[in-house]
Amino acid sequence: MSEFEPKIVSFFCNWCTFTAADLAGTSRLSYPSNIKIIRVMCSGMVDPKYVLKAFLNGADGVLIGGCWPGDCHYINGNLKARRRVALLTEMLSQYGIGPERLWLRWIAASEGTMLKEVAEEMTEKLKELGPSPLNKTKNAVVA
């Protein structure tokens, strides 16, 4: 039986985290391929619906990446993301999905290494947690 490979959907902001992902690439850092990136302009653009849609589609984890507070290209979009995630994790607990499956991380454009570390950490943690409760009925598939 193949080992459970978590499916992680990530929303990365164009200016910081997406650029960090590019930097991780040019630096040839290796990290688990479980992370699939969707590009948004700002972490503040991430509508709660996107997160819920991802989980409903069977994602085991959702990662939102934005700029460090104070450095948002659009001044404070990341702070709005922070507030939204705080509320979302409440909802996720109530839905039984588990707040540990939604991660919000500040990763600056020059922090390729941090991106790799977060990807590894999240993949590890989700492996321990197991598939999302919405996913348990489906077979574990190599992502």
Binding site: L29, S33, I75
Partner: protein, 1124 residues
């Protein structure tokens, strides 16, 4: 509507193909619904690659194109352009997915990489079908450019921009352009002197009509977007106008010194200065800090730092004039003021505060008061008369200022002589009568009338004064009533209150003084009364005070003087009953006190100790426990209220009472206080009365008191000097008479004492510079100016700073005299530096003095660079300038000078660099391959440098006379602030982030903002100039295109969905959303919106959507990733 999708996956040479099985991905894509073409190709971004896309679009009527390749940040524009050329709307048709940076380059396993590529492709293929046609808006581009930073990069860029005919606004923080390069001596490898190649640029920048030079300025705010920036620039107050000729006469006269930033603090300069002789603009600047703590504390706001500096320079007359700008009684106050300024004086951090009060007296005593000229006064009409009640310090001051303003004040004084408490409350041995007289005479010469023995309250009242035509009245009647003790028998014969006692004596009347006198109280009045009693013949004088010695309000010097004269001071005791015999005082019963809890004044309340009563035998008791206002004279005058303490009620800012035209100040308003407070109040009252008479608003346009703590640093090695001692009459000469006890400073003493001032406020505003300036270019009232400029592009060229090696204690910088940083050494070598270009060792005892050329020097490479503990990067320039220093030392100090370079690797990569290295080696410079680990100092100042010579494998210890640290180039400390202002990023090394390190080194992800020079990373002068020209070219490209296309991915609100909750308006960081009252919905202003998506992420109804990032599109991507 059926889509016809074309899918193209790039090999990227082998960069993608080596991990991702590209043919497999293409094969998968061909099975995806809607895909009619699916191909792989070696280099999609190349010409044939793009032609492939265009051909397939045409041949197969493609409606959508998905390219799987590198990051869209690289080639999205390229492929969009290809689609456009083939006739498709690029936003509708094109989407790029990244399988290189996010795929092949980060996934080691081939199966995983290929699977990930397929998933990503699915996401892209799902999304592309939902994309809409978008039409980017074009905006015109302002052809001018803002260049931030006036170093070599900024100057070069500005000149390039100016050559095109457009305007470059060059904003520089320092008073001169030039930057670090102009601080250097010769530059490698050609050994041109920096000034020779730099000053022509500086002059060009100053004279070019297309360069707007704004020095001593900083950018405050940047608004707008590419092509249309609105920038607010703050030009700091320079206090010197543009017609300054740079002659320097002002600096010669300036009494305030500091060290020069441009010379790395190796040289001193004055408060008015020019950075170096070739500065552009050649315009001096005054370094003004916040006003000193003494000036801030003085209730009269006297420019203390100013008059002290003038005394130091021997300008005693000017010092007196400066003091008299704020108060008319310098000689009097200079003898009796308790000097709150001295408690704040920062000199006490070194040794003791300045004797400010006595210096003021000195200035006053130098003048011939009868001969002081009366200033020209523009006299007003005779009807503008003001009545002042009371000729004490408050009344006299108000009269003084009103007279200077041209009004006609008349003072009504109850007593036979003017002066108030100064005359009648203070004994002659502290304040001689003639000192007070000469100052009052001067006040009268200004046009002040004083009517003596003319008290107000009985025949003449405030009402009658108003009827007489006085347009305003100032109540300055003081607080002369003595407070009663409220104990039994206190009205017995032999009890006389201190105020009355002093008053009668000062009137020259005979007063019977007992033999054994008890004075009750601990303030100045009590001390004065006690010392008068001694002089009047009392055998024994005892003071009784209910609190402790430290809490006695009297001036310490006075208390000591009293004790010297034999007065006994009994603390922690309080009288409880006057003992009489036949109505006459025979003694006083007292009780001992102890200190309990603090009361409202914060002082500990004294509490009687039960059963500790005792008696003192005496025949006179003088109570002096506080004063009150005698306010009977205001009774019957409407509108003037009394507070519950009996003082006259008035506004604390304007001193206006409830009765229009009647003002009150001094002790009558505050209750008993000190004279200088009354003088301060007198100033403000004069302002109020003048405004009132002109019909102006009393609260507006009042001068604010200075504040702030940004003061000049006190130099570490300030030598201690004792506070000047006031010469005094010997004690035995004092008691028998009323001769003035304090004799006053001699001129030598005064000037020496004034030299102890540490010049907290920088420029002291003594105005000696104005006297010297023939061009009349100095303006001390200059203020910061904010200007708004409009530009289309911005170049950030803010440069670098050399690292401060002080924290690296192993090298002893700052501790050992002859350890220099690179910049300090450059200043020594530079002809305008502290040694006029000679390379000399530092004097071991005085950092600002230099002695003889060193016979041996160690140059330490990589201090702070290539170092895990500080900066991991190489600073690129140090090896070359280290060689340069070696050459300069050989050249200037003699070829037999021993030079040792301690290096890790030699980086001589540029044009002519390797050749220079060889030449320096041939001069006999010893190269030791091993970074120096430490420097220690021997007793005679010789430095021992320890390093491992890695070529021979031995530890070497080399003794040298001088060591130079090649410190790292680092980002400026304000880099974070600059980054936020301009919307650029910072890399991990602390320098600003370029768009791409190889292909886009001068642009940033923020359109229209470019970088040039060392602010982007350590580099030498040739590379800096190249980048400056590159950045200028980018700006000129924008300007000459005339138009810029702004990406259309901005928000728009679907008015059919919007419910008008207005939540989005608060979320938008740019204020780009407005509420349309008529339609009841919110609307996005497309010129302001930047497309961040805060509104779309937050709207509960889902009405706003950022174009190209709609729900459908994102959902499609999510589906593509997760669903099969």
């Amino acid at each position: 509507m059926s889509e016809r999708i074309g899918f193209f996956i790039c090999h990227c040479g082998i960069n993608i193909a080596y991990r991702v099985r590209v043919e497999e991905v293409a094969k998968y894509a061909s099975t995806f619904p809607g895909v009619v073409v699916s191909k792989d190709y070696l280099f999609m971004c190349s010409d044939p690659g793009q032609e492939l896309i265009e051909k397939e679009i045409k041949d197969n009527n493609l409606t959508r194109v998905v390219v799987a390749a590198c990051s869209p940040r690289m080639h999205e524009k390229t492929f969009r352009a290809a689609c456009e050329r083939a006739g498709l709307n690029p936003y509708h048709a094109f989407h790029q997915v990244c399988v290189r940076e996010h795929g092949s380059w980060v996934t080691e396993n081939e199966d995983e990489a290929t699977a990930k590529a397929i998933t990503i492709a699915k996401a892209g293929l799902s999304r592309v079908a939902y994309q809409d046609k978008l039409f980017p808006k074009k905006f015109s581009v302002n052809p001018n450019t803002l260049v931030v930073g006036g170093g070599i990069a900024g100057m070069e860029a500005s000149l390039n921009i100016a050559a095109s005919g457009n305007t470059a606004y060059l904003v520089e923080m320092q008073p001169t352009v030039g930057g670090h390069m102009l601080q250097y001596d010769k530059t490698f490898p050609t050994l041109d002197c920096a000034a020779c190649i730099g000053t022509p640029k500086m002059v060009a920048v100053g004279q070019n009509p297309n360069v707007e030079l704004m020095t001593y300025s900083q950018v405050e705010e940047v608004d707008g977007f590419v092509g249309n920036f609105k920038v607010t620039v703050n030009q700091k107050a320079r206090y010197v106008k543009s017609n300054c000729t740079g002659c320097g006469d002002c600096a010669k006269a300036c009494p305030v010194g500091n060290t020069n930033d441009w010379d790395n603090h190796t040289k001193s300069r004055k408060a008015i200065y020019i950075a170096f002789p070739q500065a552009v603009p050649v315009r001096y600047v005054i370094d003004k800090k916040d006003r000193g703590p003494c000036v801030q504390k003085c209730p009269a706001g006297i420019n203390i730092q100013g008059f002290v500096a003038l005394i130091k320079m021997g300008e005693h007359e000017k010092a007196l004039k400066l003091i008299m700008e704020k108060m008319p009684l310098p000689g009097s106050l200079g003898r009796i003021c308790p000097a709150p300024c001295e408690t704040e004086c920062r000199r006490q951090d070194v040794d003791s505060p300045l004797a400010i009060c006595s210096l003021k007296r000195f200035a006053a005593d130098q003048a011939d008061w009868g001969a002081i000229p009366v200033p020209e006064i523009d006299k007003k009409d005779e009807s503008e008369k003001v009545a002042i009640i009371g000729a004490g310090p408050a009344g006299l001051t108000t009269a003084y200022f009103l007279a200077l303003d041209g009004y006609h004040p008349t003072i009504f004084e109850k007593a036979p002589k003017a002066g108030g408490m100064l005359r009648y409350g203070i004994p002659d041995y502290r304040l001689p009568q003639d000192v007070l007289d000469r100052e009052i005479d001067y006040i009268k010469r200004l046009g002040v009338a004083i009517e003596l023995e003319a008290g107000i309250g009985r025949e003449r009242t405030i009402e009658s004064l108003m009827a007489e035509g006085f347009k305003a009245i100032y109540i300055a009647a003081g607080a002369h009533k003595s407070r009663k003790m409220n104990i039994k028998n206190e009205d017995a014969e032999g009890v006389m209150h201190g105020i009355d006692y002093l008053g009668l004596l000062n009137r020259g009347q005979k007063v019977h003084t007992g033999n054994k006198v008890v004075v009750v109280g601990g303030g100045d009045v009590a001390i004065d009364a006690a010392r008068e009693a001694i002089r009047q013949g009392a055998q024994e004088v005892t003071m009784v005070y209910r609190r402790s010695r430290t809490e006695m309000p009297a001036v310490e010097a006075e208390i000591k003087a009293a004790e010297e004269e034999g007065i006994k001071i009994e603390i922690l005791q309080n009288p409880i009953e006057v003992l009489t015999d036949g109505g006459k005082v025979v003694g006083v019963k007292c009780i001992k006190m102890k200190l309990g809890e603090p009361d409202e004044s914060g002082r500990r309340r004294p509490v009687p100790i039960e059963g500790s009563e005792y008696e003192i035998e005496c025949d006179m008791i003088i109570p002096a426990i506080g004063q009150q206002v005698a306010s009977e004279f205001v009774s019957g005058t409407d509108g003037i209220e009394l507070t519950r303490w009996g003082t006259v009620d008035a506004d604390p800012v304007t001193f206006h009472t409830g009765r229009p035209g009647v003002f009150a100040g001094g002790d009558v308003y505050t209750g008993p206080s000190i004279a200088v407070e009354a003088i301060g109040a007198g100033q403000e009252a004069a302002v109020s009365i003048s405004k009132y008479l002109k019909g102006e608003e009393l609260f507006e346009n009042r001068q604010k008191r200075p504040s702030g703590k940004d003061w000049q640093k006190i130099p570490e090695k300030t030598a201690k000097a004792e506070r000047a001692k006031m010469p005094e009459l010997a004690v035995n000469e004092r008691i028998a008479n009323y001769k003035e006890i304090e004799l006053g400073f001699s001129e030598d003493q005064a000037m020496a004492e004034a030299s102890r001032c540490v010049d907290c406020g920088g420029c002291c505003e003594c105005k000696l510079c104005i006297d010297q300036c023939k061009a009349e270019a100095i303006d001390h009232d200059d203020t910061d100016k904010k200007t708004q400029i409009e530009v289309g592009s911005i170049i950030v060229a803010t440069g670098f700073d050399p690292m401060d090696p002080t924290p690296m204690v192993q090298y002893g910088y700052g501790k050992y005299a002859n350890v220099f940083t690179n910049l300090e050494f450059e200043r020594l070598s530079n002809a305008t530096g502290p040694t006029s270009g000679k390379l000399l060792k530092r004097d071991l005892d005085d950092r600002m003095q230099f002695t003889s050329p060193p016979k041996s020097v160690a140059i330490l490479h990589c201090i702070g660079s290539r170092d895990k503990n500080h900066h991991e990067y190489c600073s690129r320039t140090c090896c070359m300038y280290a060689l340069k220093y070696a050459h300069l030392l050989k050249d200037k100090c003699g070829h037999d000078t021993e030079i040792y370079n301690f290096y890790i690797d030699m980086r001589c990569f540029g044009k002519g660099y390797e050749e220079f290295y060889k030449k320096v080696q041939e001069e006999g410079v010893r190269m030791i391959r091993g970074k120096a680990g430490s420097i220690t100092e021997k007793e005679n100042g010789i430095l021992t440098v320890k390093a491992e010579d890695t070529l021979s494998g031995r530890i070497v210890e080399v003794d040298v006379e001088m060591a130079i640290l090649c410190t790292a180039m680092e980002a400026r400390p304000n880099a974070e602030e600059v980054m936020r202002k301009f919307g650029i990023g910072i890399g991990q090394d602390g320098f600003f982030q370029e768009e791409h390190p190889k292909l886009a080194p001068v642009s940033t992800p923020s359109s229209g903002v470019f970088l040039a020079g060392a602010c982007q990373g350590p580099k030498d002068i040739p590379d800096t100039v190249a980048q400056a020209k590159g950045a200028a070219a980018e700006c000129l490209a924008l300007s000459s295109a005339g138009e810029v296309e702004v990406p259309p991915m901005i928000s728009s609100i679907d008015k059919d969905i919007c419910v008008g909750c207005q939540l989005c308006i608060g979320l938008c960081p740019y204020g780009a959303i407005e509420f349309n009252d008529f339609a009841g919905v919110s609307e996005v202003n497309s010129a302001v919106c930047k497309g961040c998506g805060s509104c779309s992420g937050g709207c509960p109804s889902g009405a706003p959507k950022v174009r190209h990032f709609t729900d459908k599109q994102i959902f499609a991507e999510i589906d593509g990733i997760l669903l099969n």
